[in-house]
Subunit: 316 residues, 2 copies
């Protein structure tokens, strides 16, 4: 069994291979050809901490993945990062652990960002040029970088509740993506008025994007609502959407953006389009003026796909 | 994060410290002062394999444990052991992984054996001298060794379905425990007639020990029924027992020995005595002629206790 550091993982990271693997993982998940175990959750309230353990295997893969991820939110006060953890890569033919990828959460950030790219590529309308990013954290940055680089957006508009953070992210992205036209929006309404495609990547607990701000033809990928109590989108927006694409029907109706809309009777559970199904039937049927939503909560097949890819690169 | 080999783990293993820690773990579990997560299970039928992930934290412990255990039952055909896996020791104050104890199942064998010692010490009648062991595998050997060494039994009688395996185990134990009087029994009925205390440690899927074979005053610890479909004891025996001690009410009534007796209406769920409660109230109220049963299915607090002890010894 090999222990691989975060540095080595990132040095060997092949974004294109992982993108394809995650897409295949979602398709397998939709065909019921993946085992995704119920998530283990431990809570450490005295330390503002939590631990999740997720496990998955995609049928036919020679390895499966068990991910341990911790978030201890008092750590930054002590000069430590909040996120820690690893992915264990285990042989699906002998049960032997092959590698511990000690990524400290980096692979989760990457697989979440690449799922965003997959959903945005699927849902975004042809000719979309301006990407709007709501948020200013690690995930907002990755969604901006990956989406612009991989899907060819040439203009980026940013908004975050803390305007100085949005400005700092804009400056930093100008350095890494010099060909991109980058600006900040004074309000989320202004961002909605300018963006063809919107990605929300915040930890918000109440809707930021109001239904009547969103222009016809907009695609929205929401990645923030990964656990109960979070919300980024106005549920009324779901009434305007031609397609609501969900990474997991069970999770999205339990605690995703979709849960608020289903709970309010705005959209029926039966009307949801599983991401893996939509990918298998791509391209998506959408008219120029249709609004589409992709609600991503994170599925362990993404972990299985990214860990397998990293391990393959290291093993060969 | 440190990776510790099986060899290093065993070289630093302190049986007495672990025994105490597991006992404390059971008490905390009974007081609801332990988090024990639902178990993750993945199945690999094409390779006759399975994977379990268990996680637990005992309130106040500075670390928690996530255990990954695989059993791939075709491995021996390829010259590989069936069991693989590790326990991750993680800080409960920062979420940082401290150690991977790559025990390949050894710590699970040891914590199961030590839980047997704890239950047998609690349930066995004063003056018990002859221990009967049903089974001939790794767990049967450990139960025999630990129980005789730690609880002072001076006579041992063995029975297993394959008589040559029982004979081989007897020979091997004569070498490691030269002061012990060791014999094999021709039938399980004969073993029951000779033993004061019986430990069953098999993978049987139908009752081996019949109710009318068991003499008054006998204590029985059953450790085999760790998953659905397994059974070692005649459910009718439960009608004769003064105490039925269970490591976990939920697990024992779902798939332990107790499940068969509760399912048949022989004993009520309310009559079960949680091991942690019994340990906190020890000594057990029992008369010379009472029959007592301890049903052990394995609880993740045992993993948390043993991993913490091993890590403490390595860390200091």
């Amino acid at each position: 069994m090999r222990v691989v550091t975060r540095q080595d993982i990132l040095a060997h990271f092949d974004r294109h291979a992982v993108l394809d693997a995650i897409e295949d993982g979602f398709k397998a998940f939709a065909r019921d050809q993946a085992q995704v175990a119920p998530v283990i959750h431990l809570a450490f309230p005295a330390a503002a901490g939590e631990c999740h353990v997720k496990a998955a295997h995609v049928e036919g893969d020679e390895v499966f993945t068990v991910k341990l991820a911790t978030g201890f939110y008092d750590n930054p006060k002590r000069g430590l990062p909040s996120s820690n953890g690893f992915m264990a890569v285990v042989s699906a033919t002998t049960g032997e652990p092959r590698a511990i990828l000690q990524d400290d959460g980096a692979l989760t950030d990457l697989r979440t960002a690449l799922a965003g790219v997959i959903a945005t590529r699927l849902g975004g309308r042809r000719g979309a040029r301006t990407l709007g990013i709501v948020g200013s954290g690690v995930q907002a940055r990755l969604q901006a970088e990956f989406t612009c680089e991989l899907l060819g957006y040439d203009s980026l508009v940013l908004w975050a509740r803390a305007s100085e953070k949005a400005a700092a992210l804009a400056d930093s992205l100008r350095a890494s993506l010099p060909d991109l036209e980058i600006s900040t929006a004074p309000t989320p309404a202004d961002l909605c008025a300018r963006a063809d495609t919107i990605i929300t990547a915040t930890a918000a607990r109440a809707a930021i994007v109001r239904a009547d701000w969103v222009r016809p033809g907009t695609h929205i990928t929401a990645v923030g609502a990964d656990s109960p109590g979070k919300q980024e989108l106005d549920p009324a927006l779901f009434a305007r959407a031609r397609h609501v694409i969900v990474d997991s029907v069970a999770q999205c109706t339990a605690h995703g953006e979709t849960a608020h809309a289903v709970g309010a009777g705005i959209i029926a559970r039966d009307a949801l389009l599983p991401l893996g199904v939509a990918l298998s039937q791509a391209p998506l049927a959408r008219a120029e003026d249709d609004i589409t939503i992709a609600d991503l909560t994170g599925v362990a097949v993404q972990d299985a796909a990214i860990a397998r890819c990293v391990w393959h690169r290291l093993d060969t």
